[in-house]
Symmetry: C2
Subunit: 569 residues, 2 copies
């Protein structure tokens, strides 16, 4: 802002770099639409009006122009694509700003992982902002690749592109005023940085105490009642519509029925599969859905743009006005929201992406993150004695919470042989400590062989499920060789595998190859017996998440989430 050139272009004394003429301009501030020519100089909007002179002129012929959309909360790693690939998919559907919490890679590789994600994202024609992961590791009941304390976050907080603190999941830590948690919160609060919340179902006095710590946003609401209480508590609400968690309709329908104001609400995906993004976009599909529920189109556009920009203090983004960054999307119309052009800092972002030579430079250390301790084949199996009782994780189709069963040893052997149950083990894979947590799982469905993954929320150790020790070892060794990923094995043969060589979480493949490969390996797993309604790898990755009930497994053993203690058996 304030450059001589911008002033001259605004006054019409100098030609613009780019003129988008005859557009129907969406003003998200007044929520009105008007006709005008948008003059752009030095990546900024110089003015909207009767401008005529520019180096390049594009006639929009009455097409609708909005500010670039903002995906207010997500984890890029969950797409299993590296930032360049992920951002390309977002840009194609009109998202020019995303706020990502690199929580997954931080659990594997700490500050080095965050740094990589930030640099890779910021090399793209998109506003790539990071909220620093607040809970690494997520719990003390597992060994992650790293521990990030308040001082470690302080060391990252002034990096370009870092906004504030990522979702604070440690509710007990907040309510009980854990020293380390309080330090993290106060550092960011004192600098007036945004602090993302994570308060699923939290209400009443606990919500008050949580909000009073200066929590800025939350994206976990599943109903309008829950969202409304958070808004009333001073917390901005992002309506989430991911691949698994689909909360948008439940929140917005209630708000619309009550005639509520939407100015402190926005849209986010949290976790959305690359194939789903490729098919329908992220924020764009949420805007369409909101309009389908009866929201005024320009109110939905405001939720997609200026609302999250204001909440995160990004005052240079989110509206089409003089001096603001020229992030613009030209749409066919507001009914179908098909993007015709996407501009980032006044340049055609899709063209920039296409012309850019694909250089995914990943630091070597991030390509070597699978470090297993020594183990023998039989170490992968829980030893079963006939006349003892064993706790068993019961997987439920389409859910990430589980049930807990108890089954006698002789029956366990029988059920495994019959393909009703499997062995499950979690191998610590960051520091070669050799920790292995062992257990049993019901409902996964594998009839033969083994399946393994290094994507295992939130510590991302190595999970292997199988019917026999040899298959399990084969799958584990394959992941060790690949530097992480997905593997299917039968006996000593690798049936199929997918390298997720970046931190064991992400592939460097492009979107098309990656989504095809993901579909392939999933199909193969189902052919090996994995049950309908169970995603062979994604469902599996939540079996090691010891914050979601009821029975889970980490590298430290079987964990009863209800009692918050390890199971002794």
């Amino acid at each position: 802002m304030g450059s001589n050139r911008l002033n001259a272009v605004a006054l019409g004394n100098n030609p613009a770099d780019l003129l988008l003429k005859n557009g129907r301009v969406v003003d998200v501030v007044t929520q009105t639409i008007y006709s005008g020519n948008i003059a752009i100089a030095d990546g900024l909007i110089a003015g909207v009006g009767d401008y005529t002179e520019a180096k390049e002129i594009i006639d929009l012929q009455g097409a609708v122009v909005t500010p670039g959309f903002i995906n207010a909360h997500l984890h890029v790693e969950s797409s299993m694509a590296v930032p360049s690939v992920y951002c390309t998919e977002e840009l194609a559907w009109g998202v020019t700003t995303l706020i990502t919490d690199p929580h997954e890679i931080a659990n594997v590789a700490g500050a080095r992982g965050i740094r990589y994600m930030l640099e890779a994202g910021r090399s793209m024609p998109i506003n790539y902002y990071v909220q620093l992961p607040s809970c690494v590791p997520a719990t003390p009941f597992e060994n992650a690749g790293t521990v990030m304390r308040a001082k470690d976050l302080v060391a990252c907080m002034d990096w370009h592109g870092v906004l504030g603190l990522g979702e604070m999941m440690n509710l007990p830590g907040v309510l009980n005023e854990d020293v380390e948690v309080m330090q993290k919160l106060s550092v960011f609060r004192n600098e007036h940085r945004p602090i993302d919340g994570h308060a699923p179902g939290v209400t009443g006095r606990e919500l008050a105490a949580y909000a009073a710590q200066g929590i800025t946003t939350d994206h976990e609401s599943v109903s309008w009642g829950e969202a409304r209480e958070k808004l009333r508590s001073g917390i901005a609400v992002w309506a989430r519509q991911g691949s698994a968690s689909r909360n948008l309709e439940d929140i917005l329908a209630g708000a619309l029925a009550e005639g509520a104001d939407f100015s402190r609400m926005g849209f986010c995906t949290d976790d959305k599969h690359l194939a789903d993004i490729h098919r329908e976009g992220t924020v764009r599909s949420m805007v369409l859905q909101a309009m389908g529920l009866g929201m005024k189109p320009l109110c939905a556009i405001a939720m997609a743009t200026i609302n999250p920009a204001r909440v995160y203090g990004l005052n240079h983004l989110g509206e089409i006005a003089p001096g603001k960054q020229a992030d613009l999307v030209v749409w066919d119309d507001l009914e179908t929201l098909k993007p015709l052009k996407v501009f980032y800092k006044g340049r055609d972002a899709l063209q920039s992406v296409a012309e850019k030579r694909r250089t995914v430079e990943v630091p070597g250390a991030l390509l070597e993150t699978v470090h297993l301790g020594d183990f023998a084949q039989q170490d992968l199996l829980l030893k079963i004695e006939d006349d003892r009782d064993y706790p068993v994780i019961e997987m439920l189709p389409g859910q990430i919470f589980t049930n807990a069963l108890t089954i006698k040893g002789d029956k366990v052997k029988e059920f495994i042989a019959a393909g009703y149950m499997s062995y499950i083990s979690v191998l610590e894979r960051h520091h070669a400590t050799g920790h292995i947590g062992k257990g049993l799982i019901w409902g996964y469905g594998l009839k033969r062989g083994a399946a393994a993954t290094t994507v295992a929320h939130d510590s991302h150790n190595l999970i292997v499920v199988g019917q026999d020790a040899l298959s399990m070892e084969t799958a584990v060794r394959e992941l060790e060789n690949l530097g992480g990923g997905y593997a299917l094995a039968e006996g000593d043969r690798v049936v199929e595998s997918l390298a997720l060589e970046v931190a064991g979480l992400m592939s460097i493949m492009d979107a098309r190859n990656l989504t095809e490969k993901l579909e392939d390996i999933s199909r193969t797993a189902h052919q090996m017996g994995v049950a309908e309604g169970v995603d062979p790898f994604i469902s599996l990755s939540f079996m090691a998440l010891p914050v979601i009930p009821k029975l889970k497994i980490t590298d430290m053993g079987l964990f009863d989430v209800t009692k918050f203690e390890f199971v002794k058996f």
Copy 2:
């Protein structure tokens, strides 16, 4: 935020300091209303819910509670009351936050004046925020008491209570990129501080260039069309309803008809007389007026609270939520908006004001700001020759712009003798330079004697109008003795006077005495002939403002505002 105590009270483990129970709580975020008990601890809101324990409990019996109101732009000096008196009147009608630009006192006393206003305001139970005056002096065509350059503003910008830069009135300086103006803007812009605009009637390319400099707000719109263009340019709009400038209806009626969003709009008074504030309040009367125009009540309340809080980055204010400052107003109902209780930081503000011993400590230098050079009685009169033409300021009832007449010398003498015209002179009063600008005025109406004031926008020199030299000298000498104020004289007799001893702008009297005195002296002036529709002193004070057309007078002489040059005659 984040204190141990607050957490304990929020969780219900500790009694609150104050509990407001059975209130109908206005949530300005969702714009919904709900029932709850508000628990307050350490001046902050701990939570709203089913709290029961507190040191003090007040049963609101269903009364409506809103956040304290915010007057988004004003000049305390224009009330002619010192900050303690002014704030008391605002508090009585539910304003707990005001944003004032001490532009007037800065023209007299620079940083020392700003400091006094800030300290005096901040000693009151109110959030007293200052926007630093950007244009001191307002023009190069007069001699003010001081010159504030960018470096002088930088020296003040980190004082507690200073927010950003006050209204930038120098539009040509912005458009032509005047070095000093650019420095002032960039210093505040680079620190992401709010910058108030002042762009009456500015439109199109000039508005784009002005907005592109990072202007945050504007309060000069007189129609919805003008306001809408500013909002679309990224500038928040304060609808103004002062004693003289009444723009609220013209702006809001248009916005309501268009179904526009109001989230970037608020209310301000700019300049409102103390008597008017005493009678009806400021923001409260604007909220009532907006509701009368058909605005939803809670939307109007949002304009009065959270909207300006967000624009100015005052995230701890403007809503009733955990961790926010406990500034609350209890109203009888939303139809009449009569305040029953006003809380600032959880304490009864009206009681605090009543109990406070009135200690108006004004620095000595601010009590001695009238410094006149030597002059003889005849120096106050323009010398008239019979057969020359003279330019004459024509005062217009109810307006601050003027017309320009040309009258021959013999007629001038005749008209003054008949009481149609008066002599007018402006004496430099800050540095005793002895500068006197001399001219003639038509339409003031004085039949005999003289009237003088040290309130003279924006440089606040001494204006004297009269029919003869002796009366004029008497009035001038009275103001010299009083240290500034208003004076009426006839011959060698002071008819009536009012000391505005603080910088020649403000009285230390309380509101009741001051408003009575102001009415008295005005009545006397009218008895001496001042025309109907002319405010004897306020109208006069604008005759020295060389930015409003057409013909004005400063200590440097008669000024043609249309040609932007002094008149030679």
